[in-house]
């Protein structure tokens, strides 16, 4: 038994007397340390802060007119007539438009990602903990929805309802929760047989308490990591939808829509309409993926025990 327990918990060695003057550090604090050890995660975080800062604070310093078209100044190249990134086919300043589009993309991405994660976590945790026919029924719903191509559904829905920012959030959130639901259900299946859940039941605790206090907090590593990927995905979904012409209607903008507009100009040499939104999308998705990697390490309790 002895070597077994050693192997399982290498760092829980009997070398930390309870009364020694070791500073007590909380789990969050320890997690932060591990997160900060991951360079890429810090790069991702920096990138996100930078992009968000430019999109939301930039317009305060760089005033442009993104409502009225200016047909006297279409397709100006970068640097011409005081437009650092040029203008597009209807005369909007490209840099200003990038900031405006970024606002939509980031808001929709974050909100839809969070909505999908919250919904999926609750659904998965309840299904996995309940088990039996409840689990079967709940997961068959997920399977059924997953079997329909999401792009097809998006197109259908977008044709029925008028796209707006809040509508986009609901539509994307309503379909993106399937992935987290499956992941969390898998976690919940193993977590519910853990002894601390049994111990709680032995004290007379209910299933709701088990889900709330034990299953969800212990699945939080999976959940938060997945949430960052969900955000990245949602930003891409907005881009797809706009690319297909189902995004928010003009004069509102988003990066995906700008990209699709720019694509029409590929052969006319207006590269400044194509690359900036494309690069912006790549950077924000990359930033969220890096942050997700870092959070995964931060929530991996075993890494902290060494």
């Amino acid at each position: 038994m002895t070597t077994l327990s050693e192997a399982v918990r290498p760092g829980a060695a009997p070398d930390q007397p309870a009364d020694a003057e070791v500073p007590v550090r909380g789990l969050w604090r320890q997690g932060l340390v591990v997160f900060c050890e991951n360079r890429l995660a810090l790069v991702g975080l920096g990138l996100f802060v930078l992009l968000a800062g430019i999109c939301f604070l930039g317009p305060l310093f760089y005033h442009t007119d993104q409502v009225h078209t200016d047909l006297t100044a279409v397709h100006l190249g970068p640097g011409e007539q005081g437009h650092p990134l040029g203008t597009d086919g209807v005369g909007y300043d490209q840099l200003g438009r990038l900031m405006l589009g970024g606002q939509t993309s980031i808001i929709v991405g974050l909100a839809a990602g969070i909505l999908a994660t919250a919904l999926g976590t609750i659904w998965g945790a309840v299904a996995g903990f309940a088990g039996g026919w409840v689990d079967s029924a709940m997961m068959r719903v997920v399977d059924a929805m997953m079997s329909i191509p999401s792009l097809f559904l998006f197109m259908l829905l977008a044709a029925i309802v008028t796209p707006s920012v809040s509508m986009l959030i609901v539509i994307i959130g309503a379909f993106a929760w399937l992935g987290p639901a499956r992941l969390v259900r898998g976690d919940a299946l193993t977590l519910r047989s853990r002894e601390y859940v049994q111990a709680m039941r032995g004290m007379g605790g209910t299933g709701g308490r088990a889900v709330r206090r034990h299953i969800v907090p212990n699945a939080v590593g999976t959940v938060i990591v997945n949430a960052t990927f969900q955000v990245a995905d949602a930003i891409l979904y907005v881009a797809y939808l706009s690319f297909l012409g189902l995004g928010v209607p003009p004069p509102a903008a988003n990066w995906g829509g700008m990209l699709s507009d720019g694509l029409a100009d590929t052969y006319s040499g207006h590269w400044w309409l194509l690359y900036p939104p494309g690069i912006a999308i790549i950077l924000i998705v990359l930033a969220f993926n890096f942050i997700g990697d870092g959070l995964r390490d931060a929530f991996e309790v075993r890494l902290r025990r060494r």
């Binding site: 077994l4 050693e6 009997p14 002894e195 601390y196 206090r213 907090p217 212990n218 060494r306």
Partner: protein, 705 residues
């Protein structure tokens, strides 16, 4: 095997040691620093000898074995000293040759036979692999020799077993396969690292005897690494005791157990429950070594045991102590005086003498006025086994518990022993309401818990609490200790914030922990501390009964003693009743007032602890008692009692009648009918009890019919 004891004297002139470690240092680099796992370890193994290496977890005994085999974990490396095998230093030979020596001349058996075998390879392919790698023999010949070696390790039908996969074999059989794998190249040295720790006592005995026989047959030396002093006492020629990365004492086995010299060895032996019973009667307190082993990643000076030693002086903390010369070596400045005098009558400031406890229902007719706290009647629990395939048709019923009845009185400890798979844990889980019985009654204070629902059921949980084997697994790793201890109060809606805080403070005092632990997380504690926190949580609701499912099995001897003492103190203070479930007969013997022995879902014997252990009536109980390794050297040598062979039958299709009859040496035709549990205080379910119920049996008549 007794004649082999002491056959080789360590300093026999002229004979070159097979393996010699000289000042071996091993470091392991971890994230938080470097752990100096071994510090100047020197050992000798003579040809044909069994060397026992004993120590608690973290003492470096496994690291010694892994250093010899070159199997150190990531970050580990041998940083100094020599490993001489047949006179050649493995550290200075070319890698290719070392690999051959380790592969052919040495064999290793690991603790867990489940994880040391590859589940996707057939037995034959695994056992024959070293032959194909090192001797480059053909497929057919490898198979031939594999069958031969499997036969020699006592596998039934080896020509069929070779084509099986590991999951088709039982734990004992897997360990035999692992041994066969180690022996297939006829090594000169076998290193067995806790070879029987994961096995039941009866299987353990079979495996240890097998290793002993094979040693003689192959003329090889064995290094037996274990934490269990009892295993060493019966099997090894010489013993090396390790503590905190150093060898603190080596001597011939009989010599060491008769008169240990190092204070650590002495303390370790006193901490064994069986020695407490032997020396001071049933209700003595165990000697517990205070404190914890040192942190090996920090620089240490002086004797490493000094901070926990009751004989330590200032010298011990400052001077480096080296092993003394001679046959019985020890590294202690104030050793136990030599000679056969029992080492108990020394000044022992920590030891509390046996206190007669008033709360405990003393032997003799107690107060029958108070009814039993827990009363179990004809308890049955079947699990449905599903067949394979899509429809998962019911393939049968696994009979986990089959008609168990017993009572537990207030303030009493009822011990439940049996091997793994006998249903003892299931009984415990049923008793605390974690599972629903298939049939039968569980009465808690006279109320049948099956009939309770909603609020009443929740209140029922206040009366009875479960204590787990691994408290770490039983605590949510993301909750701080204050939240963990408050949870039962929160669930049962007891008191307000201030009251709860006061209650938690009281609990911590009761289990002997400081308030500082409240802000910490479970992974920051050692095993013994976690078990204290677990106990505190069980006590939070002031239950009348605590069901302990192997509560000390994962702990080292010295820590185990601390927890057992604490459990007894709390019982006396609070008048708790315990159901103490364990596979370890000596621990149950020490803790329990009455013992129930389970075999394959049935209670085969119930009686007062003393009577069951010293005058067993059921053949199975006797076999269990005989199989337990003991540190008493004479008892270890002269052991010819009841031996059972073979494997536990499947609970999916248990034998009819007496379930033990398939393995019982006394079984006859009548055993196909089920024997009732008969007797007054000391009951047995056997047609041929080994001895009549002793007339002097004087226990509270709480036993059931």
């Amino acid at each position: 095997m007794s004649e082999s004891t002491g056959r080789h004297t360590p300093a026999a002139g002229g004979v070159q040691p097979l393996l010699e470690l000289r000042d071996l240092d091993t470091d392991i680099a971890l994230r938080r620093g470097t752990v100096h796992a071994l510090d100047g370890v020197s050992l000798q193994v003579m040809p044909g000898e069994t060397l026992g290496v004993v120590g608690e977890s973290g003492s470096g005994k496994t690291m010694t074995a892994l250093s010899i085999m070159g199997l150190l974990p990531p970050g580990g490396r041998v940083s100094g000293g020599q490993i001489l095998f047949e006179g050649r230093d493995l550290r200075s030979l070319p890698a290719d040759e070392v690999r051959r020596i380790r592969g052919v001349r040495m064999g290793m058996v690991f603790q867990d036979p489940l994880t040391s075998l590859n589940p996707t390879m057939r037995i034959g392919a695994q056992v024959g692999e070293p032959l194909r790698v090192h001797e480059r023999v053909g497929r057919a010949e490898a198979r031939e020799r594999t069958i031969e070696i499997l036969r020699r390790v006592g596998m039934p039908r080896p020509e069929r077993i070779v084509d099986n996969y590991p999951h088709e074999l039982s734990g004992g059989m897997r360990q035999r396969v692992a041994i066969a794998m180690a022996l297939v190249c006829s090594p000169r040295l076998l290193i067995a690292d806790e070879p029987t720790t994961a096995l039941d006592v009866t299987t353990q005995r079979q495996i240890l005897e097998l290793i002993d026989d094979l040693r003689e047959e192959f003329g090889m030396a064995v290094v037996l690494v274990t934490h269990d002093l009892g295993v060493i006492a019966g099997r090894a020629d010489r013993v090396a005791v390790m503590y905190a990365g150093r060898v603190v004492e080596t001597a011939a086995t009989t010599e060491l157990f008769r008169s240990p010299r190092h204070r650590y060895t002495e303390a370790l032996m006193e901490a064994l429950p069986e020695s407490a019973i032997r020396e001071s009667g049933e209700h003595a307190r165990l000697y517990s070594i205070p404190g914890l082993p040192p942190d090996l990643s920090r620089p240490l000076t002086g004797c490493r045991f000094a901070p926990r030693c009751r004989h330590a002086t200032d010298d011990c903390r400052t001077t480096e102590v080296t092993l003394s010369a001679g046959g019985h070596q020890h590294a202690c400045l104030h050793p136990v005086p030599a000679g056969p005098a029992a080492p108990v009558n020394l000044p022992a400031p920590v030891r509390v003498e046996a206190v007669p406890d008033p709360a405990r229902p003393a032997a003799g007719p107690g107060e029958p006025a108070a009814g039993p706290v827990l009363s179990v009647r004809d308890l049955v629990k079947n699990y449905t086994a599903h067949g394979r395939g899509l429809l998962r048709r019911t393939a049968g019923q696994v009979s986990a518990v089959a008609g168990v009845s017993f009572d537990v009185g207030p303030g009493e400890t009822f011990g439940l022993v049996g091997e793994s798979g006998c249903g003892k844990s299931t009984v415990g889980r049923l008793a605390v309401g974690l599972e629903q019985p298939t049939a039968g009654q569980i009465m808690l204070d006279g109320t049948d818990i099956a009939g309770l629902a909603g609020r009443e059921r929740r209140r029922m949980h206040r009366q009875v609490q479960l204590m787990f084997q691994d408290s770490y697994a039983a605590m949510n790793p993301r909750m701080r200790v204050d939240a963990i201890l408050a949870e039962p109060l929160d669930i049962q809606k007891v008191g307000g914030t201030a009251e709860r805080r006061a209650r938690i403070a009281t609990l911590l005092d009761q289990v002997g922990l400081s308030r500082r632990v409240l802000e910490r997380y479970p992974h920051e504690f050692s095993g013994g501390q976690l078990q204290r926190i677990g106990l505190a949580r069980s006590l939070a609701l002031q239950p009348r009964l605590i069901v302990g499912d192997e509560p000390v099995s994962a702990l080292d001897v010295s820590i185990q003693a601390q927890v057992l003492n604490l459990m007894r103190d709390l019982q006396r203070e609070l008048g708790l009743a315990y159901v103490f479930i364990s596979h370890d007969l000596s621990v149950v013997d020490y803790m329990a007032d009455r013992i129930g022995v389970m075999y394959l879902g049935k209670l085969v014997e119930v009686g007062p602890a003393r009577d069951v252990v010293r005058a067993a009536r059921h053949p199975y109980t006797q076999a269990l008692i005989d199989a337990v390794p003991t540190v008493t050297p004479n008892a270890a040598a002269a052991r010819d009692g009841m031996t059972i062979r073979g494997e536990l039958p499947s609970a999916l299709n248990p034998p009819t009648g007496c379930r033990f009859r398939t393995r019982c040496p006394l079984a006859q035709d009548i055993c196909e009918t089920e024997p009732p549990l008969a007797g007054d205080a000391h009951q047995v379910a056997c047609h041929f009890p080994l001895r009549p119920e002793s007339t002097a049996a004087s226990a509270p008549a709480g036993a059931t019919a």
